[in-house]
């Protein structure tokens, strides 16, 4: 199990940067997904229009979430689904554990679900002695390696083929091979037995359709189809924001999600599940339990600026596009949701105390906003969270941030920028003192007293710095340029 937390993001990132295998795997995978995405989205001439429409639909859902939830629940209940409401992760896990115990279930098959990663459901179930088998290949690899996913849709993106082969040799006893087909068929064989033996199948949900009570789950491997149809009981866990008003809205979202996530025109399987099986001769589970998870979502909903983060459809495109994610991967974020959207969602879900490095883990380049299929303005949300952090006066947040120096620096910066004479004086002082560090017209690695200035040390660790000009533009203007 990796134990990285958001609190130590800086250290996690440094360790990730030093891992050349990780960086190689990330570079290959993120650039491949980026290229595929671009190829798939450019096939649609109305891509921008689809994004706008999708966002309008999500905004409507979020503005009237109560109504859509009631509608969704009523329609799914009329088809035999049972609903459970969980305020937080603990409640969700307790509900599921209870369902499992009531049915004396011993074995559970599970399909990929970020929501159950968010609640750490596997830990809760295994702690109670229940055997849980992840059936998505990526999740299966992660489970064998006792790790956590490092990407929203590609859980094992951080692993190379070779690392996976070694893991399979070690954990499954298969002869060493780098043949991908052999690796997948071995996993498939192991998993098939599990489906047959499982008492309960647990899945996530991509979309809930209010007007029909249908849940929709997308996948490529067929394991979700099996997880949700073979066992007698199906438990689906979904965030309360995952609704779409109408079945017809899927026309837009099914164009956006696979193209953004994996660059596919459509995923191999789409499972539409509306209630339980109709009579004893038809296929499908006898019981369908839908666990609705809040876990901070209603708090996010209440805030006018950050509400838009609930429009996220978990496609992972922003991770692939992010220069920070591309270099450090997902584990460094210390959260189930990494990358740009993770840096926005995690502090809102978990509070600012332990997550306040995350909103700063971005160069604000905007690549995430450009690829987001539902046009979430992630840089704007990061900036908003940064201001919440600097303005937050709660002792835990203040204590957690080494901000005294920075706060003072920005106070002084403000005073300087408000007074041109002080601005000019500071520049002159800078010119005077930089004589100590400027060599050959540049400032190299900080040595001696220069080491007392942390930003200078940080900048010059790998880059030379341009010195302050002997003649500023305003001096040039006055002397040579004005009145010409």
């Amino acid at each position: 199990m990796n134990h990285l937390t958001s609190e130590t993001f800086d250290k996690n990132a440094k360790a990730a940067l030093a891992d050349s295998q990780l960086r190689g795997a990330l570079r290959n995978a993120t650039s491949l997904f980026g290229k595929r995405r671009l190829a798939a989205t450019s096939q649609l001439t109305n891509w921008e229009d689809l994004r706008t429409k999708a966002r309008t639909i999500k905004d409507d859902v979020l503005a009237h979430l109560d109504t859509y939830l009631e509608q969704f629940v009523a329609n799914a209940e009329s088809r035999g689904a049972k609903f459970h409401w969980a305020r937080d992760a603990q409640e969700a896990n307790a509900i599921i554990l209870n369902l499992v115990k009531e049915r004396n279930a011993r074995t559970i098959v599970k399909s990929k679900s970020m929501t159950t990663e968010e609640t750490h459901l596997n830990v809760a179930l295994e702690g109670a002695g229940i055997q849980v088998v992840e059936t998505d290949l990526g999740e299966y690899i992660i489970q064998l390696a006792h790790e956590t996913p490092s990407h929203i849709i590609v859980p094992a993106i951080h692993k190379t083929k070779r690392q996976i082969a070694e893991l399979f040799t070690e954990e499954l006893g298969m002869p060493p091979t780098d043949d991908v087909d052999k690796l997948t068929s071995t996993a498939r064989e192991k998993l098939r037995d599990r489906f047959a033996a499982a008492d309960i199948g647990i899945s996530g949900v991509n979309f809930g359709i209010a007007e029909t009570g249908t849940i929709l789950i997308l996948e490529n491997e067929g394991n979700i189809r099996l997880t949700t149809s073979l066992p007698r009981v199906h438990i689906a866990v979904m965030g309360i924001e995952k609704l779409l008003p109408r079945f017809a809205d899927l026309d837009i979202f099914l164009k956006l999600l696979p193209r953004s996530g994996t660059g596919q025109r459509l995923t191999t399987y789409q499972s539409f599940i509306t209630g339980t099986k109709i009579d004893k001769d038809s296929e499908g589970p006898e019981e369908l339990h839908i666990v609705m998870l809040d876990n901070g979502r209603s708090r996010m909903l209440a805030h006018p600026v950050t509400r838009q983060s609930l429009a996220c459809i978990r496609c992972g495109a922003c991770l692939n596009a992010c220069p920070v994610y591309q270099n450090i991967g997902g584990h460094a974020y210390g959260s189930v949701y990494p990358g740009p959207i993770g840096a926005v969602i995690t502090p809102q879900l978990m509070g600012l105390e332990k997550t306040q490095q995350l909103p700063y883990a971005s160069s604000l380049c905007g690549a995430c906003r450009e690829v987001c299929p539902v046009k979430i303005d992630i840089p704007r949300l990061l900036l908003h969270l940064r201001s919440e952090i600097t303005e937050n006066a709660s002792p835990e947040v203040v204590q957690a941030k080494p901000k005294a120096g920075e706060r003072l620096a920005f106070k002084l910066w403000k005073i300087t920028m408000m007074k041109p004479w002080l601005y000019k004086l500071s520049a002159k002082m800078g010119r005077l003192f930089q004589g100590l560090v400027v060599k050959n017209g540049k400032i190299g690695p900080a040595t001696g007293p220069a080491r007392l200035a942390p930003p200078l040390v940080a900048w010059t660790s790998g880059r030379d710095l341009r010195p302050i000009e002997q003649q500023s533009f305003r001096e040039l203007w006055k002397k040579d340029l004005a009145g010409k």
């Binding site: 800086d10 990132a13 440094k14 940067l17 220069p323 920070v324 591309q326 270099n327 450090i328 700063y360 883990a361 971005s362 160069s363 604000l364 380049c365 905007g366 690549a367 906003r369 450009e370 704007r380 900036l383 940064r386 201001s387 919440e388 952090i389 600097t390 303005e391 920075e406 920005f410 106070k411 910066w413 403000k414 920028m417 408000m418 041109p420 601005y423 520049a427 190299g444 942390p454 940080a458 900048w459 660790s461 790998g462 880059r463 030379d464 341009r466 010195p467 302050i468 000009e469 003649q471 500023s472 533009f473 305003r474 001096e475 040039l476 203007w477 006055k478 040579d480 340029l481 004005a482």
Partner: protein, 241 residues
């Protein structure tokens, strides 16, 4: 057309030739240029680091100064600082008076290349520079202001300049303001991908529209002893030899 130059504090203090070149180019295409030397910073460092109270005060001061100008446009040799001015309304969302004032200032403020191409409809500014050049899309110009074709159109008209596209020209250089000193290792890792692309392009100069990105890229090139020089678009356009 009368133009008020918003030179940016970075150019003013660290790269004054970019300011002088901007004046040269704007005058060459027939603009009357003024410079109000009460101007300092646009407030971006504070805004981007989360210090909105401080940013608001500095932004108000900026608005007050430029409101007094009778110029037709405010022009800046920086996509990032121009984008900051365009972000001002976010700072005043709850203050109707300043919201309105910030919106009028934002509407008048243009990044240099987009001002030349979109407003003045000029792409040949009579520049000459001999060598092979490439262009780095600075993020805020590209994604906040949609500046993409304008600098390329201008560079292609420079006599003697052989323009080549950079691989992943639109990917970040890793600067990100305080990000570059908060997470220097990540910033450098991102930067090195940009440097590799520049090396592959085999150019004499890499040109961009923001002094900040050029300091990041140039600082690394200099540390590595590279012969490739960094050049602001204004400098390239001002060149006549």
């Amino acid at each position: 057309m009368k133009v008020s130059l918003f030179v940016t504090c970075l150019v003013d203090q660290l790269w004054s030739s970019v300011g002088a070149s901007s004046v040269e180019v704007l005058r060459r295409v027939g603009c009357e240029v003024e410079f109000d030397d009460r101007q300092t910073c646009c407030a971006q460092p504070a805004f981007n680091t989360g210090y909105r109270k401080e940013a608001r005060e500095v932004a108000k001061r900026f608005i007050e100064i430029f409101e007094q100008s009778d110029a037709d446009a405010i022009v800046s040799p920086s996509g990032s600082c121009t984008a900051m001015v365009h972000h001002y309304p976010e700072l005043f969302a709850e203050d109707p008076e300043w919201l309105k004032r910030s919106q009028s200032i934002a509407a008048k403020t243009h990044e240099l290349s987009s001002f030349l191409v979109r407003v003045l409809k000029v792409d040949d500014v009579g520049a000459t520079w001999n060598g092979r050049v490439t262009w780095h899309d600075a993020c805020h110009g590209l994604r906040d202001l949609n500046v993409k074709s304008e600098p390329r159109a201008l560079i292609k008209q420079v006599r003697g300049a052989d323009f080549v596209e950079l691989d992943n020209a639109d990917s970040c250089c890793g600067f990100g303001g305080t990000f570059s000193v908060k997470y220097p290792e990540i910033s450098l890792a991102i930067l090195d991908q940009k440097i590799e692309a520049i090396e592959r392009a085999e150019v004499n100069a890499v040109v961009s529209g923001d002094a900040s990105c050029l300091m990041q890229i140039g600082g690394r090139l200099s540390r590595k002893g590279s012969k490739v020089r960094v050049m602001h678009l204004a400098e390239l356009l001002a060149s006549q030899s």
